[in-house]
Symmetry: C2
Subunit: 152 residues, 2 copies
């Protein structure tokens, strides 16, 4: 876990982007008085809760939506830092396995194999922020290493 | 259209890969006596047929399957030529719009915006072969320009 994420998860660019990504769907202002941490509550899944989620059947659409927003927020945080947008592409099978990539121009700036998508979640906000920021840092480093391809 | 595709479409690496990709699904040997051109028949959609296909509602699952095999065959032809596999990732909305990328290592070797997916098809085998080979050539050129990233 990075030090920033450990000190104040909500101050990380990743969680700020995730919150604004979630608020973007609040067309009618129903969540206006909800604190940011409440909007992230569904991302927190304890070990016991995780174990209780069956991994047969299609992953829950809400879970897939959360997963998608998670990677979109990484892309937004990358854009904030580099000026280059990284857009996610995701492929998840019915068994909850899959692959996600973040693409900037002609460059794959981040790639990850997905497993147990049914049980997607984090122990606490610190872990959520740390996981997101790790991906952001990797993607930014990749863009800095190959700026001409990322802009292509 | 490339000269090779015009002379004998079936001899292009792309159509050979597409045929073998289709035959790979023939688990029970039901298509063993079918000629290759018969297996590709669904890829041929005349202008009139195309116009008759409605573009409302979800794209037909068979059409999506054909689209997916089309890009998988491009990836296979790329592998045959370079030794590096290029795997497709596709995102299609219910409106038949979308995006497809072919990824080799950390490199996006091919990217295309998809439109009117409902009506996916080609006037004849020559056009099918030419479109596939154009993508193969582009992807191969991209790999040759950035071999270290394609192998990453």
């Amino acid at each position: 876990m990075s030090e920033a994420a450990a000190a104040d998860p909500m101050a990380t660019p990743f969680l700020q982007c995730l919150v604004s990504r979630i608020r973007a769907e609040d067309t009618f202002g129903a969540w206006e008085n909800k604190p940011d941490t409440a909007l992230l509550a569904d991302y927190i899944v304890t070990k016991e809760e995780r174990r209780a989620i069956p991994i047969i059947g299609d992953p829950d659409p809400d879970t897939l939506g959360r997963l998608e927003k998670f990677y979109q927020a990484i892309g937004l945080a990358v854009e904030r830092q580099t000026g280059i947008i990284a857009s996610p592409m995701m492929k998840v099978t019915h068994e909850g396995f899959g692959r996600v990539v973040l693409i900037a121009g002609k460059l794959v700036v981040y790639a990850r194999t997905l497993r147990d998508v049914h049980r997607f979640g984090f122990n606490d906000l610190g872990a959520l922020a740390a996981d997101g920021m790790k991906a952001v840092d990797q993607a930014v480093a990749m863009i800095e290493a190959h700026p001409e391809l990322a802009r292509a």
